[in-house]
């Protein structure tokens, strides 16, 4: 599904990612954890294709293609989905319009016809149940006036409608209270599938109580310094990230 090999990336000339290696197979859920400044958001932005990040070395292969050569929309059309840490508000664009435009963009790439209006509404209503969203949210402008929790649920709704092959969840738990966290997690769990991989990027272990990963990786100073299973996250919860900082630079697990 996804293979990251020796990925180095810089922002404004400053190297943030310093040799990431990661393989994600179909159906796997990977959690990438790390302290602030470890490069977590840089990694998700590089994978989604945001401007301002310069890849200086290494490669990312997604379904056999060089992901880094694709425009952000081409990545999305091929099934890569980024759930944003800070979803933007877009006045003037209704949620339902966005969902339909996004779904049609993906369908068009796959050589399918545009979705029929009635089929689409049936589909969206069904998906909204996953994240317990009321239908009124469809007709509101994208994220405008939404609470933090509603914005994150809206991201998961978009994921549910687009049915990506690879979902990158960037700090999806940030800013959520316990109820919202539960709803979002249930939504994500419902979307786990044998042909869908999920990469969760998070600072805190609490998300992993709800969405249990197959693998946990610790990111520090632009490298994955330790990998393990879900027990690794619990260890981190107990001892924090401080032990990582004590590790010699460049050491990988």
């Amino acid at each position: 599904m996804l293979e990251i090999k020796n990925l180095h990336a810089s922002v404004d000339g400053k190297e943030i990612l310093r040799g990431i290696n990661l393989t994600v197979n179909p159906g796997e859920v990977h959690a990438i954890m790390g302290p602030n400044g470890a490069g977590k958001s840089t990694l998700s932005n590089v994978l989604a294709g945001r401007d301002g990040y310069e890849v200086t070395q290494g490669e990312v292969i997604y379904k056999g293609e060089n992901l880094l050569e694709l425009e952000p929309e081409e990545r999305a059309q091929r099934g890569v989905f980024l759930a944003f840490q800070y979803p933007v508000e877009i006045p003037g664009v209704s949620n339902v319009y966005l969902l339909k435009a996004a779904l049609n963009a993906v369908r068009k790439y796959q050589g399918q016809d545009e979705v029929d209006a009635i089929d689409f509404l049936t589909l969206v209503r069904d998906k909204m149940k996953l994240v317990k969203m009321d239908e009124q949210f469809l007709h509101r402008n994208v994220n405008e006036g939404f609470s933090g929790g509603e914005k994150k649920r809206n991201e998961i709704l978009q994921m549910a409608v687009l049915e990506p092959a690879l979902a990158i969840l960037d700090e999806t738990d940030s800013g959520l209270d316990i109820d919202a966290l539960r709803i979002v997690s249930e939504g994500v769990n419902a979307l786990r599938a044998a042909d869908r991989s999920i990469v969760m990027i998070t600072h805190y272990q609490r998300l992993l109580d709800h969405i249990v990963p197959d693998f946990v990786h610790v990111l520090s100073q632009g490298q994955i310094v330790k990998s393990g299973d879900k027990e690794l996250a619990k260890e981190l919860e107990k001892s924090g990230y401080s032990w990582i900082h004590d590790a010699p630079e460049g050491q990988t697990a």
Binding site: P87, I90, L162
Partner: protein
């Protein structure tokens, strides 16, 4: 160097020789004479006048306009095609003349009058000229001197008119260089309510001059939803004044949409004269190529406890130029005024220009006034978000441009009108996705 009062079209001579309606009314004759004397003194406003600093009428002054129009050959189907609203009363003005045959004025609701002003001057003596001042720099004097037609809308006390009224003003190829001086009078009596859409459209590449003054009088607790949709040809000049006086508890909801012409200038002014009066003064301008649009708005909070809410947005492309000047004046006794104003501009090209100037003058001490003005480009975060959802860059930019513009229309509560106006905007700015 020639001055703007050395104008090619001899407007004053036209006034002296033309047969204008209402000639039998002494008060009207006097009013026209006063206006003529004023126009002869001041001519067209020059750029040295502060209010006309960014808008030059030089090109207009150098053009020759005709003042007589031939009969139209338009039929109902053609008129239906350009109308903004399907289910509405419709008063049609073609090349400056009211056209009864093409209007839809049957079955008016109780208490509603819709008529040609040329046939109604006798009824509007107490209203006409009351909302505007002919000595103010601008074209009000010229309009008053030559006003030939327009609409008269009157709603009797307490009547809430359900169906909207579309005033459809059409310029045709048959009279491509026509100057028309239209005067609209809208009078809403106490507790009454109506919706009026002024709609200006060209059916060809006309090079005429639309000179419009709309006067609005709102009695106590009256409500007028007042929309203006202007999309005339790229050769047309459009200069308009919309002026209202509002009594206590009255509400004037305006939305002024300029898709432009060669030059469009709107002076929109209200005086909130009674407690509880409210104005929503919204607008949207979309200009491209060499278009020029200038909106000057003014809200006078004259007494205590009045409110105003103003949002103007603009999208500029090509070499276009937009001007926004928004005055809010809170007079000495106007305590507890609540006023908010914003002007936001989206620039799509490097060679367009916008001059935005909010002006607050506050002479009371217990008031809430907010204003803001922005000029910018498409938000990169928004663009990335849409691309990350699969929309290509061109589609995402189009959608964001449409969204920026249509946002101001979402403030319109009336669903059919909001939809009709949004459709017009979408034709100009395709959503692209």
């Amino acid at each position: 160097m020639k001055q703007l009062n050395e104008i090619t079209t001899p407007f004053s001579e036209v006034a002296a020789t033309a047969t204008l309606p209402g000639a039998g009314l002494n008060w009207l004759t006097q009013l026209r004479q006063q206006a003529k004397a004023q126009f002869d003194r001041q001519g067209l406003p020059a750029k040295k006048v502060e209010d006309w600093k960014y808008t030059s009428l030089w090109a207009l002054s150098q053009q020759t306009f005709s003042h007589t129009a031939s009969e139209t050959s338009l039929d109902t189907a053609q008129v239906n095609q350009v109308a903004a609203l399907e289910n509405a009363y419709r008063l049609v003005i073609i090349d400056g003349q009211f056209n009864a045959a093409l209007s839809q004025l049957d079955g008016l609701e109780d208490g509603l009058t819709i008529a040609s002003i040329a046939e109604s001057f006798a009824q509007v003596e107490s209203v006409i000229g009351q909302q505007v001042e002919i000595d103010k720099p601008g074209l009000t004097a010229l309009n008053t001197m030559l006003m030939q037609d327009g609409v008269y809308v009157h709603v009797a006390a307490g009547q809430k008119i359900a169906k909207p009224i579309e005033v459809l003003v059409i310029s045709t190829a048959e009279n491509a260089d026509l100057a028309s001086h239209l005067r609209h009078v809208i009078q809403i009596d106490a507790g009454a309510q109506a919706t009026v859409v002024e709609h200006y459209v060209s059916l060809a590449e006309t090079k005429g001059f639309s000179n419009v003054v709309s006067e609005v009088q709102l009695a106590e607790n009256a409500t007028l939803n007042h929309f203006k949709l202007q999309h005339e040809s790229m050769g047309q000049f459009h200069i308009a004044t919309l002026a209202a006086k509002q009594a206590a508890g009255s509400v004037w909801n305006t939305n002024n949409i300029s898709l432009g012409s060669k030059l469009a200038r709107n002076d929109i002014h209200t005086q909130l004269l009674g407690e509880g009066a409210h104005v929503t003064m919204d607008g949207l301008y979309l200009v491209e190529a060499d278009q020029h649009v200038d909106n000057h708005t003014r809200i006078d909070h004259a007494v205590a406890n009045t409110t105003s809410d103003e949002v103007y947005k603009g999208v500029l492309d090509g070499n276009s130029h937009a001007v926004f000047n928004g005055k809010v004046i809170v007079h000495k006794d106007a305590q507890k005024t609540d006023s908010s104003q914003s002007n936001k501009n989206l620039l799509l090209s490097r060679s367009c220009e916008v001059d935005s100037k909010p002006e607050l003058e506050i002479y009371a001490d217990d008031v809430k006034c907010a204003h803001g003005s922005t000029v910018g480009q498409i938000d990169e975060q928004h663009l990335f978000f849409l691309r990350a959802r699969g929309l290509d860059e061109v589609a995402a930019r189009s959608l964001l441009t449409y969204a920026f513009a249509v946002d101001v229309l979402q403030r319109i509560k009336d669903e059919p009108i909001r939809q009709a106006l949004s459709n017009v905007i979408e034709k100009r700015l395709p959503k692209g996705a």
